[in-house]
């Protein structure tokens, strides 16, 4: 007999002082294991109602029901679970885009009404709502990549001194990989001002059906090359994937679809070779995004459309306000030439108000759409700002786009913290590099770094390129010597708004700096020029806050034949302009061709 075998049973006595692993009172208390998959918990404040849980559920146990307020980034729906079908597999928990959904370790619950087993976790209060035991999505494991596919770009050194487009675009492989991250919830569509079919065109990329993708784009947006590059992409700010990681690169995916479709095939793909012409005529003032969008949808509906453009080329701020390195001119032309190919006429170098009056247009055409935008620079009004070497960013950007030489100084100060300020900063930096071989430019804004209105990447890229961005200062005065600025005096700006949310900057006058610069650029917003609307017409129009003309939901003014949209009404950005133009085209058709 082996002595070891005799003694082995005695080792059990070693456990006598340890806590038992068995349950003491199993008849009354039987808690599930720490990671048991029991009844669900949902943090309804975190949940955005994307419905991905419903989508993945193999048992169709989940319904999305109206609970919360519907707003940007939140459908207001929350999952209701039918425990008659749930198999407790926890796929819904693991796929949840916000991590709001988890499972408790509670599995025993008795009620006499079978309907009780359908409820909305987190809303219909249950005993197991509190406590943290149960199943949660394990760390470091995702059904989808939470990192976006990086888009190649030119290095800061390559960017400097050149206006070549800096973002290189996605390859097929990259685009499909990025498209694969989309859960198709469609939360983005509501936030996009044009309500683009975003999940649908991303799906078209996944299916490698880029012609279908292009058709989806043109349903809502006739400027996809442009928007694919410079859209303010509000959609990405609400993307459900953004809760755990990077939002989908919706803008770059749009660009991918447009880039891959050659312009000569557009008319065939978009099935516009046999438009049915109408004998009604519409005039459009301005060839910016809203005017072009209205022109496109009116042309699709068969209207004879003529655009009147003040400058020598079409595109408005897209051409004359956005630098070429962000939006190359040939891509603007690709979008615009397609719209013109639908039979849209355009007359350049015509100024409505001086060359032709607005009233005359109203008489000659069945309807007029005006999308004249915001082109006037806004002055800081500080001492010295009336000097001739103090410029507006809008004027400079336009001149650069027109190929005019501008007198770039060796040291420059830019006032403004928005995207336009970044555009002019980075454009001037490129010109400085060309002319002087070095960059000496400083840009400031009232807002502190974290509140700057410019897109984050614009600020980062400007710094990469050698510009100094120094936010949180208020311009005090411009020092002038012998008719030429020598620099800008600034004081520290502590806050912008008062307790009631009114614009009321508070500055610390003791913290001051002087930044030398012989060229000062103001980029603090733009104003509209609607001098083409005569006094007589003004009396018939209604004006709202900030001197904006009041329009109805179809952008129709109280002068029935006059529609207005784009930056002068809403915005300012390209995608609102596009949405406004589309809606105005619908309004014009409803007026001229009412449904019988």
């Amino acid at each position: 007999m082996d002595i070891k075998k005799l003694l082995t049973p005695l080792t059990a006595w070693g456990n006598i002082t340890k806590d038992p692993v068995t349950i003491k009172d199993p008849l009354n208390e039987r808690p599930g294991a720490d990671r048991y998959r029991g009844f669900h918990r949902n943090d309804v404040e975190v949940c955005i109602g994307c419905g991905t849980c419903e989508e993945i559920c193999e048992n169709e146990a989940i319904d999305m029901v109206a609970i919360a307020e519907t707003k940007d980034g939140d459908s207001g729906l929350r999952p209701m679970i039918d425990y008659g079908r749930c198999c407790w597999c926890a796929l819904c928990v693991d796929v949840c885009t916000t991590n709001s959904l988890s499972m408790s370790n509670e599995y025993t619950w008795v009620t006499t009404d079978p309907e009780d087993f359908r409820f909305v976790p987190g809303v219909d209060k249950k005993d197991w709502d509190k406590g943290d035991k149960g199943w949660k999505k394990p760390e470091n494991y995702e059904f989808y990549s939470i990192k976006r596919v990086h888009m190649e770009e030119l290095s800061p050194e390559e960017r400097n001194g050149s206006f070549i487009e800096m973002m290189k675009g996605y390859s097929k492989e990259q685009a499909e990989k990025e498209a694969d991250r989309c859960v198709e919830c469609g939360i983005c569509t509501a936030t996009c001002p044009a309500h683009m079919g975003i999940p649908e065109y991303i799906k078209a990329i996944r299916n490698d059906d880029l012609e279908e993708g292009l058709r989806i784009l043109y349903d809502t947006n006739p400027l996809p090359e442009i928007c694919g590059r410079i859209c303010t992409h509000k959609c990405e700010s609400v993307c459900s994937m953004g809760h755990k990681g990077d939002p989908i690169s919706i803008r770059w995916l749009k660009r991918y679809i447009a880039d891959q479709n050659p312009s000569e095939k557009y008319k065939k793909i978009l099935e516009v070779e046999n438009l049915q012409p109408k004998d009604k005529k519409v005039a459009i003032i301005g060839s910016g995004p809203s005017g072009l969008s209205a022109a496109h949808y009116l042309a699709l509906m068969g209207y004879q459309v003529k655009i009147f453009e003040k400058l020598e080329k079409a595109g408005g701020m897209m051409r004359y306000g956005i630098p070429e390195y962000r939006l190359p001119y040939d891509q603007i032309d690709k979008d615009i030439n397609y719209i013109l190919s639908l039979g849209v006429e355009i007359e350049y170098n015509v100024n409505i108000g001086t060359d032709i009056s607005l009233e005359q247009l109203g008489k000659d055409y069945d309807a007029v759409f005006s999308g004249t935008g915001l082109q006037l620079g806004r002055s800081t009004g500080i001492e010295g700002s009336d000097n001739e070497h103090v410029y507006y960013s809008t004027d400079l950007l336009r001149k650069i786009a027109q190929g005019e030489e501008i007198e770039v100084a060796e040291s420059i100060v830019v006032i403004g913290g928005g995207n336009v300020a970044m555009d002019i900063t980075r454009s001037l930096a490129r010109l400085q590099k060309e002319k002087y071989g070095k960059i000496q430019i400083i840009t400031t804004s009232l807002e502190k770094e974290e509140n700057m209105p410019a897109d984050r990447e614009e600020v980062v890229e400007a710094r990469e390129e050698g510009c100094v961005i120094n936010p949180g200062w208020a311009p005090k005065s411009i020092e002038i010597k012998d008719g030429i600025p020598t620099g800008l005096h600034v004081v520290k700006c502590n806050s912008l708004f008062d307790g009631e949310g009114r614009f009321n900057p508070q500055c610390d006058l003791d913290v001051k700096e002087f930044w030398p610069g012989t060229m000062i650029v103001q980029s603090i917003g733009q104003g509209m020029d609607i001098s083409y609307i005569t006094e007589e017409m003004r009396e018939k129009l209604e004006f709202g806050p900030r001197g904006r003309v009041q329009t109805d939901e179809y952008f129709q003014t109280s002068l029935k034949w006059l529609f207005m949209g784009g930056d002068i009404i809403q915005g300012p950005d390209v995608i609102h302009g596009i949405a406004n133009g589309h809606m105005a085209a619908v309004g014009i058709d409803r007026m001229l061709n009412p449904e019988k």
Partner: protein, 188 residues
Amino acid sequence: MQDTIKNLTERFGASNMIEKKPGLIFITIEQSKAISAVTYLRDIEGYTVLTLLTAVDWIEDNVFQLTYLLNNPEQITEIGLRVMIDREKAEMESAHHLWPNVEVYQRELKEMYGINFPGSPRIDENFILEGWNDKPPYRRDFDTKEYAENNFFPRPGRKTNDPAEYMKQKMYPNNPSDYTNKKYNPNR
């Protein structure tokens, strides 16, 4: 354990040895030599306990992987023998004569994956899926959702909302593309 692996490799042509952690090794063996290898491990090498017998559906490669996880209680080591079998001809020699509990595992695999073990006791009887008349449900081409839709009716009164559609009704019911598509582009 190293000697055991060496013997498995030399005598039974085992390959693809993976050491998951000290004392846990997976190794792949040809179908025709698998039961001999299992018997050898049990009778000669001291792997007297069958911890489990399970399968994986590698549908892309058109094979099922059977795993015989064997335990040596003296050494406290485990060997997982992996056997790849043709998915189209899903059949494997039975091992019920080696351990009585193999019978239960084999009945489960027959029902869940459709892998047959001819000669295994009660192999054709229902295991847990009484009255099952569909594809074996653990096969990856079994569509759970479709099965649920076809076989289980929804509880009366159930109603769901598509988030995108619901947001549209709430936030922008008047969408210009609906108008332009409906009125001028009925094909879309």
